[in-house]
């Protein structure tokens, strides 16, 4: 797995950073010349993961959210979104579509969206330590010379 390019960003778990996070990730991914749909998929998945950090991981406190975006040889994007928040007790339950601990205004679709809009998703979580979501998506190559 050869890394072609990488960026790291971190920011406070404020809800107005949700749009910041997806804009930064999509700006970095642009160098692979993705389609509008591929870019929208990535933005949506990032938005879900960052929202989870804000509403769940750091529910009672302000914390830091860390994102690493890598461009991997062959046109693959890898996005890691990490928090040092409360962790997820039951990952299977959390990933179940429509499962939510937040009541009426949350659809319980965060993980379902990430799974559907990205090729691969892996969740690592330790209660009391935090959660790391790793997502991957291959960008279909259209133009040459974009490396």
């Amino acid at each position: 797995m050869k890394i072609i390019n990488e960026t790291n960003i971190s920011f406070m778990s404020k809800s107005n950073n949700e749009s910041f996070a997806r804009s930064v990730v999509s700006a970095f991914v642009l160098q692979l010349d993705p389609t509008i749909t591929e870019l929208a998929d990535i933005k949506t998945a990032v938005s879900e993961a960052v929202t989870n950090c804000i509403v769940h991981a750091y529910k009672y406190e302000m914390g830091t959210i860390y994102i690493t975006v890598r461009i991997i040889e062959g046109g693959k994007i890898q996005i890691k979104i990490r928090d040092k928040g409360c962790g997820i007790e039951n990952i299977h339950e959390a990933m179940e579509p429509l499962f939510t601990t937040m009541g009426g205004e949350r659809a319980g679709l965060g993980f379902a969206v990430m799974q559907s809009f990205m090729d691969k998703i892996r969740v690592n979580s330790k209660v009391g330590k935090g959660t790391t979501i790793t997502m991957e998506k291959s960008i279909i190559r259209r133009a040459k010379n974009n490396e």
Binding site: S15, N16, I36, A40, K43, T51, R106, A107
Partner: protein
């Protein structure tokens, strides 16, 4: 302003603007709910034609307003869903609530 609200003949249309995420959905929700509680409309239309982006918070917004309108004794209709939001709408299962319509479908 992230939502433009108009009403006539006891029907409210809330035109959502820009990007819907967990952050922006809150203000949209508050504005729509306060108007709906005042007017108690027979129908609340949520117009998605000017929505550039949404994540599952948009789905939560629709589900929450569906419940709100049930409490107020009216109906909810989701109109003008642009093509780029069709996938997330389909994933949501909102179709089962019977709120999605093909009224005034726009292409983007």
């Amino acid at each position: 302003m992230s939502v433009k609200i108009s009403h006539e003949n006891g029907k409210i249309t809330a035109k959502l603007m820009g990007e819907i995420d967990h952050h922006t959905a809150k203000a949209m929700r508050e504005e729509i709910d306060s108007e709906a509680e005042k007017i108690k409309p027979a129908v609340l239309y949520l117009d998605f034609s000017e929505v550039q982006f949404m994540d599952s918070s948009g789905i939560g917004l629709v589900m929450g307003r569906f419940r709100q309108m049930e409490l107020l004794g009216g109906k909810l209709r989701v109109i003008n869903v642009p093509e780029h939001l069709e996938r997330i709408m389909a994933l949501s299962g909102l179709g089962a609530l019977g709120v999605l319509t093909n009224e005034g479908k726009v292409k983007k």
